[in-house]
């Protein structure tokens, strides 16, 4: 009797704690969520209602006009959207593959000079980007890829972060697995393509999602390296709403809201991979 009562009490207490935690976390998350709420709500506001205090979290008089205007006026937001999709998708597929290939070399083939090269990679990650724009510009212009999408795609294919992340994952794969394959007569290439790539689907997917988000939101590279309006990406399209005397917030937020959609789709499709991917890569430093 008592035991059942005990269990019941414990269960109720657990439920209470859990409910309390849920409320606590929900409140805490509101702070981080508030910019997104503001972004969406502002996209439905009239210009004159943007700057009211206190903030209107739900527009009193919501309008669709901003969303319609984003897609119909200016230089063609739809075209920017397609350009962004194209670049982001190419990189989402290309960057993880190239990174994985290198990561295998850095983690599974012991050879002289390997760790020195990897150290150099890590150092490259620490260089601030702002001073590299001009050197890159000079080089791209010389290579004839300035003002083409290649100026974003080619450099985007090679990332330190991706190599680092996937390398950590490969290092955590037990050596017994590849040794068994060696004994069967497989070489490094076969092990990589037939064993490691399928095994590392989660980490590849995770990195692909992160890379997609980066590319999608990349403003500065696109700004400096693209001149032709027909090549512009979504972040460049949003500049249209930076007026001479300030920001047209309601229009810009309508554009930003439209811009979030692909990120959310990619995130929700890959959410389970994110969990698996990170867990496997981060454990074995």
């Amino acid at each position: 009797m008592d035991a059942i009562k005990d269990r019941k009490i414990r269960k109720v207490r657990e439920q209470l704690t859990k409910s309390f935690n849920t409320i606590l976390m929900a409140l805490a998350s509101l702070l981080l969520l508030s910019p997104m709420i503001w972004m969406i709500s502002t996209s439905f506001k009239k210009a004159i209602d943007v700057f009211t205090y206190p903030i209107q979290w739900i527009p009193t008089d919501p309008v669709w006009t901003n969303h319609i205007k984003v897609w119909t006026t200016g230089d063609g937001f739809a075209m920017f959207y397609l350009n962004s999709l194209k670049i982001s998708l190419v990189l989402m597929i290309g960057a993880p593959l190239l990174a994985a290939f290198a990561a295998y070399g850095f983690s599974r083939i012991p050879f002289k000079g390997r760790d020195a090269v990897f150290l150099l990679y890590l150092c490259l990650m620490m260089i601030p980007q702002q001073v590299l724009f001009v050197p890159k510009f000079i080089m791209f212009d010389w290579m004839n890829i300035y003002n083409t999408h290649w100026a974003l795609i080619l450099p985007g294919l090679f990332t330190v972060f991706g190599v680092f992340m996937i390398r950590q994952f490969f290092m955590s794969i037990p050596h017994e697995i590849s040794e068994a394959a060696f004994i069967d007569g497989a070489g490094h290439f076969r092990i990589f393509f037939q064993l490691f790539l399928p095994l590392s689907k989660p980490v590849l997917a995770t990195f692909a999602i992160i890379d997609f988000t980066w590319t999608w939101n990349d403003y500065e590279n696109a700004l400096i390296f693209l001149l032709d309006k027909r090549l512009f990406t979504v972040p460049l399209g949003m500049q249209n709403f930076m007026l001479e005397a300030g920001v047209d917030y309601n229009m810009m937020m309508a554009a930003a809201t439209a811009g979030v959609v692909p990120l959310l789709i990619v995130f929700f499709l890959g959410q389970k991979y994110i969990i698996q991917g990170f867990s496997s890569s981060a454990v074995k430093g």
């Binding site: 700057f51 004839n144 290649w150 400096i224 001149l227 001479e244």
Partner: protein, 452 residues
């Protein structure tokens, strides 16, 4: 086995190799028309155009958003000139946007014409050889067209661009609020009167005055402009440390912290309120800004207002000051990139733009500078349908009056470094006297480096 191994490696390597190759040949053709990239929206070939199959294409870079006039301008031109098709490219007139333009100017990509909005950047572009001497075009005398005010844009005694618009910075007034307090629309005033107005107009939830970021440098610089465009003394040292600077800093400090009629400066720059909207919403009685506010005050649909808008000239430091120069004058200078393949076509466009083409820009408050321009038409367009909501007398007096106008040639670096000093003065970390000395100190330091 071995074959497959090398095949695999070959695949990965060829990805890189082919990407590089494609990249290198990427824009060999179609320079400036988007290379081989993107869904090429074919340049709008006008029906009925008898022109040759291959019209000249020009790109024209400016900082005015496409919808606020430029699109109509180039559409009009393209309709009339099927053989010269102009495309407008908008850049944001901030640091990154100007870097983008300057990058494009030195690249192999075509930027045929561009607008400079600030002397220091313009001069830099000229000195770097990125602007053609427009004096070489014989049928267009800049000064003859634009008046003597154009001289501001001379570099080494030559014009490397055509200033196209004119206008002063001035004070926008909510006439209804002035009337309610029995205050007349000022025709000339100094900072003391300015402060008095602000204090009287201030109310619950209404600021007496709002002004664009760092506009307190307008009276300060305006008091020195007559001496020299670079704001220096005859001996070449900085002229900033003078009683008028001290007074200006003092008056503004008092407005912010004693009268509380003006939002403290640091609060403004870090909360970035939309000043034009504050004005039309009646949250500030006066707004010291530029003619760009017309875009908002004219737009009654999005920014409905019930009050009349009037204008007053920018305040001098002292009302009786005789050597004061108002901030403003000729601006929006269009230059031609020496790398253009079609300088004559560009010249033709600029001439048309300055003489009549820029009319659609007037709706956004840009007053054409050319004497050949149908000014009445521009004014009519500017106030079309909303004439009744303005006190037109005062607006015309201020915008088209004969106030002495000018712009300083203070270098960008000094201007930028002085912002930190203004921040300190208006956080009351420096007294106005110390502030004036500091303004002069950073100016002198830069004068010294640039003379080396």
């Amino acid at each position: 086995m071995k074959n497959r191994k090398w095949l695999a490696a070959g695949v990965a390597w060829s990805v890189v190799a082919s990407l590089m190759l494609v990249g290198c040949s990427g824009n060999g053709n179609g320079n400036g028309n988007g290379g081989t990239e993107g869904p090429a929206s074919s340049p709008s070939a006008k029906p009925g155009a008898t022109a040759n199959a291959d019209p000249i294409k020009l790109t024209f870079w400016g900082a005015v958003p496409v919808e606020n006039g430029p699109q109509t301008v180039v559409d009009n031109w393209n309709k009339e000139n099927p053989d010269i098709q102009v495309e407008y490219v908008r850049f944001v007139n901030d640091e990154a946007g100007n870097l983008k333009l300057d990058t494009a100017l030195v690249s192999s990509q075509p930027v045929d014409m561009y607008v400079s909005y600030d002397y220091s950047l313009y001069e830099k572009r000229v000195k770097a050889g990125n602007a053609l001497d427009v004096g070489e075009f014989t049928d267009f005398g800049v000064e003859e067209k634009m008046g003597e005010g154009a001289a501001l844009w001379k570099v080494d005694d030559k014009y490397y661009g055509v200033p196209t618009s004119k206008g002063p910075s001035f004070v926008w007034l909510n006439k209804d609020m002035l009337d309610a307090k029995g205050l007349p629309v000022p025709t000339e005033w100094g900072l003391d009167e300015f402060r008095e107005y602000a204090a009287k107009l201030k109310d619950d939830n209404v600021w007496g005055l709002a002004q664009s970021d760092y506009y307190f440098n307008v009276p300060i610089n305006g008091s020195m402009l007559k001496k020299s465009l670079t704001l220096t003394n005859p001996d070449g040292t900085s002229a900033f440390d003078n009683p008028l600077t001290v007074k200006t800093l003092q008056v503004y400090t008092d407005m912010m912290f004693t009268d509380k009629s003006l939002m403290p400066h640091t609060e403004q720059i870090t909360s970035k309120p939309a000043l034009d909207q504050m004005f039309v919403k009646g949250e500030t009685a006066m707004l010291f800004s530029t003619n760009q506010v017309f875009r908002t005050t004219n737009n009654m649909a999005e920014y409905p207002r019930t009050f009349k808008v009037a204008a007053a000239p920018a305040p001098r430091v002292n009302k009786d000051q005789s050597d004061y120069i108002n901030a403003g004058g000729l601006g929006d200078v269009i230059s031609i990139n020496p790398r253009t393949k079609h300088p004559e076509a560009a010249q033709k466009f600029i001439k048309w733009y300055a003489d009549s083409g820029m009319l659609p820009m007037a709706a956004g408050g840009r007053v054409p500078a050319s004497k050949d321009f149908p000014v009445d038409e521009a004014v009519a367009l500017m106030f079309k349908g909303v004439e009744d909501t303005y006190d037109l007398d005062s607006i015309k007096r201020v915008m088209f009056g004969d106030l002495p106008l000018g712009l300083s040639r203070l270098d960008r670096k000094t201007g930028s470094e002085q912002q930190a000093i203004y921040d300190n003065v208006f956080s009351r970390k420096l007294t106005p006297e110390e502030g004036a000395k500091e303004l002069a100190r950073v100016h002198n330091a830069n004068l010294k480096t640039s003379s080396q």
